[in-house]
């Protein structure tokens, strides 16, 4: 079973050379810490930046330089700044190779719910609906079950949707799963020490298990 940083570490393996990547708030933000040195990658922040670097040193903090999570950040050499329209323009025109974001629920046909819980204060969808409506490749980073112990991998989402038929892959503390074009969570890898039985119990949607399921490999 992985901790949050382990999920981020596993997702980092999905990032290929020359990828432009948008990282959501939470676990996805941690992915940036695990990119192998030999991989060329560029992080986009949808408030208007390509080439987002690490958090600044105390003396370099600039209130005019933040990411979409409103955290102070830095720019790396080759960075560029643009306005919100161009930012979502590059998202909608699929210039971003990979989008990594969190979710409350994912359905077996790739629907995602991550912005609203009816009856609770609604904070808004921010850029999430744009990202999931446009991304070529979406990986969800989340816990396999919610705090009440209920599966977040469902036949259909209960919560209001953020987007439909868009999630390609899910990485949780238990497993890596892809979503098949015809529907269903196909189990690809188990987290270290996690049994298939554990994954079955935690997955309410249609789980597809074919052949030997390897454990995740970390360098």
């Amino acid at each position: 079973m992985l901790d949050k940083d382990g999920i981020a570490r596993r997702i980092a393996q999905e990032i290929q050379n020359n990828y432009y990547v948008n990282l959501g708030i939470g676990i996805p933000t941690l992915v940036a810490n695990h990119i192998p040195k030999h991989i060329q990658v560029c992080f986009q922040s949808e408030n208007g930046l390509l080439g987002m670097g690490p958090y600044p040193k105390e003396e370099d903090v600039d209130p005019d330089l933040i990411n979409a999570g409103k955290q102070t950040i830095t720019m790396i050499p080759g960075a560029s700044v643009f306005d919100s329209a161009m930012s979502f323009g590059m998202i909608h025109s699929q210039k971003i190779d990979l989008t990594i974001l969190g979710a409350m629920e994912v359905s077996e046909n790739g629907d995602i719910a991550n912005w609203k819980i009816p009856g609770k204060m609604v904070k808004g969808m921010g850029g999430a609906m744009d990202l999931v409506a446009s991304a070529k490749n979406i990986i969800v980073a989340m816990q396999h079950v919610n705090k009440a112990g209920e599966s977040k991998l469902l036949p259909i989402c209960d919560l209001p949707l953020t987007g439909i038929r868009c999630v390609k892959k899910i990485v949780t503390e238990l497993a890596v799963l892809s979503i098949l074009p015809e529907g269903g969570f196909k189990l690809l890898e188990r987290a270290p020490g996690v049994s298939i039985e554990t994954i079955k119990k935690a997955t309410l949607g249609k789980l597809i298990i074919e052949g030997e399921i390897p454990e995740m490999a970390f360098d």
């Binding site: 005019d64 933040i66 700044v81 919100s84 329209a85 921010g126 609906m129 744009d130």
Partner: protein, 231 residues
Amino acid sequence: MINKQVSSAEEAINDIQDGDTIMLGGFGLCGIPENCIAALVKKGVKNLTCISNNAGVDDFGIGLMLHQKQVKKMISSYVGENEEFERQLLNGELEVELIPQGTLAFRCMAAGYGMPAIFTPAGIGTEVAIGKEIRNFNGKDYLLEKAFEANFAIVKAWKGDTDGNLVFKATARNFNTVMAMAGKITIAEVEELVEPGVLDPNQIHTPGIYVHRIFQGKQYEKRIEKKTTSV
């Protein structure tokens, strides 16, 4: 050229009336028009519809206007971080229309480009699409979203000249450029106001034609919402 300089925030916002629709630039607290917000609070204008990506925090940004109950409706992509906002919303004192962030940007851009409406895939299959026209192009569904109409756009730039040309710094650009293009009247406050000819014509983010009033702001606090550092 055409001089747009006014003397102060008070003068710049003087004709904003109760019930007006105003756009306010900024993302979170980054790049917000602090001086104009202070002047609006002082003026006490009410029943405003505010188009802005966020609603500030309790004691800064648009939060200051919420505190004075000057806002009738917020059109934003993300609110929260704001208890007074939540209280007014749950009490029914405040209306909120939440829209995708890209839709917010494109509806501003549409106004600035004279496009009556644009197509966006954001919100397809969600409650955002309810009641809206859906159209399929090349096998993909899009929502038709209308251009915003705002009486005023209020933006904050880094540098500007008296002809209204604007330059923004880093991610404080965000919605400021598209809103500047979208307002019927656009008001710009800048950290540094210079004479025409000082700014490089190649490097202007917002040409002066979009800006109707400009002034040099003062005492920028530039509050940081989430200070994160590394060692």
